[in-house]
Amino acid sequence: MTTTNDTTASANGGDVRLTGIGKTYGSFTAVHPLDLTVPQGSFFALLGASGCGKTTTLRMIAGLEEPTSGTVHLGDQDVTALPPYKRPVNTVFQSYALFPHLDIFENVAFGLRRRGIKSVKKQVEEMLELVQLGEQARKKPHQLSGGQQQRVAVARALINHPKVLLLDEPLGALDLKLRRQMQLELKRIQTEVGITFVHVTHDQEEAMTMADTVAVMNAGRVEQLGSPADLYENPRTTFVANFLGTSNFIEAEVDTGSGDDVVLKAGGGRLVLPGARNRATATAGARILVGVRPEKISLTHADDADGIPEGRNRITGRITGAGFIGVSTQFVVDSPVCSDFEVYVQNIDRDPRLVPGAEVVLHWNPAHTFGLDANQSLLAGTVGSAGVATVEEEVAR
C-alpha cells in the first residue's frame, strides 16, 4: 500500500515531500516506494517496530542514505542529489554522536563555523539557554548525563535553523522518567522555534504525545497516516490497531449490511457496527473482524445483566484474570467469541464481585466498534513478544 498524504492543504515553501522514494539493499527492500508530505511547521512521527524502514526513510531525507528510487523535495527544491552537507536539514542522532574532542560550546558551534559564521558566541549561548545548558558550555560531552547530552544534540542541530529537524529515536537511550520530561521539552522547543520536526520512534506513546501527524510503518511501507486520535480510533489494519494500544478482535459474520449500521452475528450473539467505521466489505455472509478498545468496554456482573441499557453491544464471559494498577483494573475475560478479551475499568466504584471466576456481561456503545478486513493476522503489530513469537503463535493456531 502506497499511502498518499491527506494533509497537503497548505502549499507552503518548507514542506518535506517524498515522491516514490524507496530503498533496496541487494534483494532486501528496506523501504517500498512511498509518497509522503510533511507540512511545514508540523511535528511528524514515523512510528514502527525496528527494521520497518523508518530510520532508512529519515536518513534518505538527511542525505545519509541514497534512495534507490524517487525524489526528496524540501519546499520547491529537489535535494535528492545533494550531499548531506549541502542540505538545509539537521539530524539528532540516536546515540547523539557528539564530537568527543570538542566541548559543548564547540559542539553546538560546529555547524555555524562550517558555514563560515565568525561571531558565534551570542547564538551559541542563546541556544544553550534554550536547552538549559548555559552552565555546561565548557564541559566535554562525556562529562554530561544522558539527558544533557541529548539536549546538546538538539541544540547542535537547531542552531542552524534547518528547514527540517530530523530526530532518530532521540530518546531511546534515556530512562522512562527522563524520556517523559524530554518529550515535553522537545514539544516545547518545537512550538517555540516553529521548525518542522520529523521524529522516528518505535514507542507509540511517544509518537502519540508529541506528534501532530503519525505515519505508522510496517515492513517498509506506511500502513496508515493520520492524527494520533484518528489512528487510535479508526485503525485501518490489525497492525495499526495492535501497535497503537491494545485491541480486542471478534471474528463475526455479516447478517445485514444495509443501512447505516452493519449487523453481525458472532457466537450466537448480535453485534452492531457503524457502517462508517467499517473497513471491510459488508455483504451478507461476509466475514469481518470486529474491534473494540479495552477502555470502551463496561463490565457488569451477570446477576445485574437486566440493568444494561438497550442498544449496546453485549458479550457474555467469565473473568480469568484481574490486574489492579491503581487508576484502573485490567480484566481478562474468556468469552465464546474471543478467549482473552481485555477490559480496562476505571476504579471509581469497584464491584467486589468482579473477581476471577465471576460470570460477567461485557457491553459497549456500538459507536465504539470498528470493522476490519478478516483477511489478516489478528496478532500483527502486537508489541512485547512481537515478531518471532507472533509467527509461532500463528502457526499454532
Binding site: A62, L64, P84, Y85, S95, H101, R114, R115, R156
Partner: protein, 308 residues
Amino acid sequence: MTTVTEAPPLAPAPPEPEPPRRRGRWTPYLLLLPGLLWLLVFFALPVVYQASTSVQTGSLEEGYQVTWHVATYWEALSEYWPQFVRSVLYAASATVLCLLLGYPLAYLIAFRAGRWRNLIMILVIAPFFTSFLIRTLAWKTILADGGPVVGALDALHVLDVTAWLGWTAGDRVLATPLAVVCGLTYNFLPFMILPLYTSLERIDPRLHEAANDLYARPSTTFRKVTFPLSMPGVVSGTLLTFIPATGDYVNADLLGSTDTRMVGNVIQSQFLRVLDYPTAAALSFILMAAILIMVTLYIRKSGTEDLV
C-alpha cells in the same frame, strides 16, 4: 651489553595496575611480580650498572674503577654530537615518512577495506615473519648500484634532485642518507600503522555522518573530526617509530656509509670494538636523556592526555 641502547626507559613501560577489586587484595601484586622481577633484572640492574660504568676510568688491561669522572659525558658529547644530530634527523625523517605512508593505509583499513580488512592487516604484519636483518639486507639488493630502482630514479632525474639536496651521492643510493632513511622507514612502518589503525577504527562512523550533516564537507570532516580523534594513534605511532629509530644502528650499518653513522653505531663500536666502556655508557645515557626530553615536550605539545 647492548640492552641499554635498545631499551630506552619509555619503551618497556611497567604493566598497567590491575583494576581495583576488594577481594583478594594481594592478587594484583602477585600478578605484577613476574613483570617487576623481569624489569628489575633486565632493565633496572643494567641501567645502574651502566650508570656506574659511565663514571669509571681506567683501561681494559688494568681494569676500570669508579672515579666519578663525569667529564666523560662532556667529552663524548663534544666528540660525537654530529652523530647525535644525524640520528635525530634520520629518525625524524623516517617518522614523518612513516606517518605520510601509514596514515592513508591505516585509514583505508579502518574505514574502506570492508572484507579485505583482515587480509591487509596480515600484509602489514607479514614482514615480521622474516628477520629484521634479512629484511634490511633485502633493501641492499633493492637499492643496489645500477639496479632497476636506482636506474629508474636516475632516468627520471630524481637522483639529480636528491643529490643536490645531499641525500644521495652521484648515481648511488646505497651508502647515502636516503638509503638509511628508507631502511628505517620500511622497518618501522608497521609500528606506525598499527596504533593509527587502532585509534581510527575506534572512531564512531556516526561522527562522520554528524559532521556531514552539520555542513562539513568530507575534507573538513577529516580536518575537524577524524584527524583530531586519531591523535592518540598519531602520538603513539610516532613515538613507537621515532624512539627505536633514533637508537637504531642496523640500517646505518648495512645501508649507510661512514658518513651516515648514527649514534647507535658509535655506541656499538665503542662497546664492541674500541672497548671504551665508559664512553659507550655515557653515550647511552645521553641518548636516553635526549629522547626522554624530546618525547616529554612532544606529548605536552600534542596535548592528547585526555584523549588516550
